[in-house]
Structures are given as C-alpha cells and as structure tokens.
Amino acid sequence: MVAGRPSADIDHAAIYAGAIDCDLHPALPGMQVLLPYLDDYWREMVSVRALDRLNLTLTSYPQNAPLSCRPDWKPEGTAKPGASLEAMQSHVLDRYQPRFGILNCLYGAQVMHSEDMAAVFCRATNDWIRDEWLSRDPRLRASIVIPAHNTELAVAEIERRADDPRFVQVLMLVSGEVTLGRRQLWPIYQAAERLGLPIGVHAGSAYRYAPTAVGWPSYYVEDYVAQSSAFENQLQSLISEGVFTKFPGLKLVAIESGLTWLSGFIWRADKTWKGVRAEVPWVTRAPSKIIRDHVRFTVQPIDAPDELAALMRLIEHLESDELFLFSTDYPHWQFDGDDALPTGLSETVRRKILCGNALATYPRLAAANSAMEVNA
C-alpha cells in the first residue's frame, strides 16, 4: 500500500502548482463521438456492422477493476472514468493546478488488426481529443495516437498533427506486434525525432502474443504486474537495435512503468553488454548511459513500500535526478489522497520532477512555456 500522510491539512494546490502532469487518461464515452470525423464509408461501416456497440474495453484496463479508477474519481452512473473533462478538471487539473497536462488516450483503435481501421479510428480519436479536450482547456496537451503496426499510416498520422503544437508526443503501447527496437518501426522514430516529439511508451498490450515469455497468466493482476517486465524487454530492444544511435535526437518516455525495476535493469544490461558487445557494435556506450541521455520515466506508480526511499535509491543508482517526470495517471488508482509524489524530496529534486525534467524532455512544452512566460 502507498504510505501516505493524512493530507487534509495540506494545501494541495501549493504542492503541485505549476507542475507538468505527464500521464492523464481521457476516455471516449463511446464510438459515437468519432462519427463526425469519419468519412461516409466508415460511418456506414459503423452503422451496418454496429461497431459502436462493440465493447472496446481493453484487457489491459478492465473498466471496473480497482486499478482502472480511484473510487473517489468514479463518475456517476454508467459513465466511463476519465470521459468527463469537467471531472478531470475538478479531480486533478483545478485541484493541483499544473501548468500542463499530457493526455494519453488508451482506446481500442490502436489494436485493431485491420491497419486501415486502426488508422482511421486513431485519426478520429486524435481529432476528437483536439476538439473536445485540447480546445477546451489551455493546459492540456496530448500524445498522438497511432496505428503502430503500419508505419506508413502511423507516420502519416504524425505528420498530420505536426503543425498543431498541442500534440507533444507520439503514443505507443509497450507490447505491440514487434519489439519496439525493430527497424520496421524506424520511420515512426525518424518522424518523431525530426518533429521534436518524444515517443511515449505506455503500459498496455495489443495482446498479439502471450503477455509473458512463459505463457498466458490466469489473472489480471498478473498481466498488470507483467507490464514492468515488458518495459524491461522493450527498453533492451530499443537499446540493442541501436534506435538511439540511429536517432540521436530521440527521447523516449516510459509511462506507467513502475520505475523501481530500473536499477536491476541497468546492472544486468551493462554487464551483458560488456560480454556481447561485438554482436551489436553500434551500441557504443553502456545501456545505463544511453538511458540517462534518452529515456525518461513518469513517476506513478512507484513500486515500493517507501516511495521516498525508492526515488532516492533510483537517483543514486542511475546517477541522475533528471529521469523522472511527475504524473498522476488519472484516473488510475495509484495513490491515495493527494500523495502523487512523496514528501521529503529536496526542493531541487522536487522541482525537477514536477516540472523541470518534463520541460527538458518535451520541446513543444518548453516552447509553450517560454511563450507563456514572455506573455506573463
């Protein structure tokens, strides 16, 4: 359980004001909201095939599972958690007063097998996010949802959003159709690097394969726990395949990964590299150094009984306090009350986690921030 102090007496706005919340989950109330963004053929398909009656709840996030929504963030009736901007404002945006919040929309569109269907619905989702979220709250920014299994269509979608500075990142699931470092995905990374967009890799699976190397676990809790293992595997892929050698300007953000696995990861990865380097000679530096330069991690959840000690340990092991990005993971239930970040951090580290590290990671946020400060 998260160790939390009673927060009733804490001025919650003061703690997090000006932060950048790097993981917020807006939910589509239903496919009907996408209809205005579809052409005639797809609108007809939705109708004829009753696509809008499909329950696109992700196996990665069963709607009513405790993790999917904190009890006090649950909407009334049958509405979906995260579907209401007003609720998000009340629960986190107006309460904590971040200067920016990044929306990572997890919807079924990304994982449809049909590449065209996935692309069309990703495009519609991004349009909907733009109109119903970004345009209604100036603090909000968003990740571009893409059909990663067709890189041409994915790149087209990224290009389509390039001129809208409110899209600040490209969103991918940690477990897709191919390991994330594979060369067939490189056009996505190339476009992202060129446009100054980090790749946001979020927990979640397209379930093209068993979620673990040992097969299909019985329980949801096992699947969710396995997400951190997935991040380890995919980070090793990105490093081994030389993605950061090929795209030296690329940044990657691991979102909702659990964090504390990182220590064991770098020890093993660095040691392995020394012995097998000749297999992947484009990996010219230890993995831990590559991570320090290229990879960032959103904070929630922190997989540890003592979150402060865990963060301090990670900072020591990674020899950097620049890797961690504040996040609430709203509306997922990762912390109680207002304990989105443990108390006890030094002011320097706290400011970096709350804001500075995200500004250094997201060029479009930094640009917007500068503009705001000029105009202030």
Partner: protein
C-alpha cells in the same frame, strides 16, 4: 624494472600466444602478424587466464546494420565473459579507463646484442647470437 628474455621469436608463431612467468607474474606474450605484445594474464573482472581467450579483430560500427572489422588479431576476448582487451594497450574496450590489464614494454632483440648486456636476466634462456629473442621489461 628489469629486462627479461622470455622466448625466442620462433617459439610463438603469428596468431599464437605463450604464457610466461616472470618475477612472480603470469604474462601472456602474443604474436600479432609478426608484432609481439605482452599483457598481464589475469582478467581484472574475475581472474580468468587471458592467454586462453580468443584473439579477435576490433569490431566497430558506424550505424545499426553495419559492421566494420579492423586491426585483425589485436584484441583478446577473455575466455570467460568475453570482455575485449586491446593487446597494444591492455585497455578494455568497454571501460578503457577503469578496466584494464597491464601491458608490458616488449622488444625483439638480436642475440648478438643481448649477449653483451650486463643487466639482462636470461635465466631460462641461454642466449645465442644467431637468434632473435622476445624481451620484456617488468
């Protein structure tokens, strides 16, 4: 520091190596295409005998998917974990500053010159003027 004769040139064919014991140290003498190098035999990682490792070229890459092999035979891979050491300098590839073995100064000398040298230790080798010898400084 003293100079020690450790082998004749013919003892170690190109591509081969020889383990010698000098002043309490185990030292590997390697012949790389006629050029000789000497490094301490013990891998600093867990103590494996480097003399038993594979001698390899230097593998580098300009970008993923490209492989460049140069300096054939100038690197030795520790026989255990495969860490690569530069025979010329004793430095590991991955961590040249902190992970290294000592490289010893080595010369090939004519027997005729050696027989004149009063400071030379040649316990195991009667030096004859017709041959060439590997001499290291320890």
């Amino acid at each position: 520091m003293a100079r020690h004769v450790v082998a004749t040139v013919d003892d170690i064919a190109p591509g081969q190596r020889k383990l010698v014991h000098v002043q309490g140290r185990d030292i590997g003498i390697f012949n790389v295409g006629g050029e000789f190098f000497a490094i301490a035999n013990r891998c600093p990682h867990e103590g494996a005998s480097l003399c038993k490792g594979r001698v390899v070229g230097l593998v580098e890459s300009s970008e993923p998917g490209s492989y460049q092999l140069s300096r054939p035979g100038e690197m030795v891979r520790c026989p255990w974990h495969g860490w690569e050491f530069d025979l010329r300098t004793g430095k590991s590839w991955c961590d040249p500053l902190r992970t290294k073995v000592r490289a010893f100064d080595l010369k090939v000398e004519e027997g005729a010159a050696l027989v004149e040298e009063t400071l030379l230790r040649a316990e195991t080798f009667p030096v004859s003027i017709e041959r060439q010898y590997v001499v290291i400084e320890v």
